[in-house]
Amino acid sequence: MARVNLLDPETLANPYPLYAELRREAPAVQVDPNGMWAVTRFADVVEVLRRVDDFSSEPADDDREKLFENAFGGANIIGSDNPRHDRLRSIMQKRFTPRRLGHLQGRVEDLSRELLASLASDGEFDLVPTYTVPLPVVVIAELLGVEANRVDDFKRWSNALVAIVNSAEGAERQSALAEVGELAKYLSAAAERRRQDPAEDLIGALVAAEKEPGRISAGEVLSYCILLLAAGNETTTNLIGGMISALIDNPDQLALLRDDPSLIPNAVEEGLRYCSPVQGLFRRVLQDTQLNGVTIPAGSRVWVCYASANRDPERFQDPDRFDIKRDCRGHVAFGWGLHFCLGSNLARREARVAISALLPLLCESNFSQAVEWLPSWVIRGPKALVLRKAA
């Protein structure tokens, strides 16, 4: 097949047909932007994620992620191989376990209810600015220990980070870099306050670790805060939004959920599989590397496409069907292995509560939806999700 570009508008609107073609083609296929090698089959994706010594997570000097590292003065866990990855991850490891997050349940429920109570009641509303954005932003801001009332700033900053990862060029890139600079300044100040006045929140835990020799540098603290803030909202927003959209598209599945809300946890797993809010992440090969018969040349960037793996018919039967009762365990929406999403249990908890709280409203009337998807090949979710009551 001719070399494809993931930034083509048609593909951005719906990348799944292209993923299917790439899966049929080969274990790894060179695509644009940047001539990356796309890995799209489930088995190959899992293999790449397992082979951490062959497929490095550390960005090269000309990768965009390297910009962040240089600007913040330290790497984050996504862009680290071992031993650095474990050194940094272990600081936060026990903060995101299912049990540890249990105390958040009531807070997330209250927040969902408050947000829904202020929805316009005229039968037409966009759930993105009113619900799917503020819910995760407020939760992660409170966990970090920053001012939750700056939701709009956090969202703007997080959009800027995504724009850069998303290959923004020219003026867009310049303005995104300026936004990111503002974010770094804000979080540096928050960390500095914690150094003077210790606290139990996540930023407090990071600066407390600075006291152990060789554990974490000030630049790494800043990088960590930015990652937690951005990853903690963007992805969950898109999971919740993507799931709502899928439920409106599939009234039979919505009815199943209405009749048996105990299906919500599995529906969230299926939402993760079906929506894959992080469509994929990057690796790099430092030498010529074999992947099931394909040679990926030294220095290549590899696009590990979770979203495609999650729609691979070799792994999931009838993969393009949204089926909240299917056994979808083993999906790779959170990655797999060493770099498995640190915040997976937080995302799950928030999505379960968000869907559960919204369910009565969704079932109250027949809604039609108008969805505008984010113009990104890395992060997928509704940028606007307008629901209208059918007349």
């Binding site: 474990d86 995101f96 376990t97 540890r100 292995g337």
Partner: protein, 63 residues
Amino acid sequence: MKIIVDYDLCEANALCMDSCPEVFRVEEDDSLTILMSEIPEKLRGKLEESVRLCPRQALRIEG
């Protein structure tokens, strides 16, 4: 048959306990306890499922 846990990787996601509660117990403090040092052959299927589903790939079967 034995199960080997890499405790540096384990993050108490508890999928192993869901698949095979006979062998795995995630404690109140998020530590993982292995309930049998020698695991009977009849649990091999469940154990393999635990290994497969552990998102951090922290488990390995020996024997």
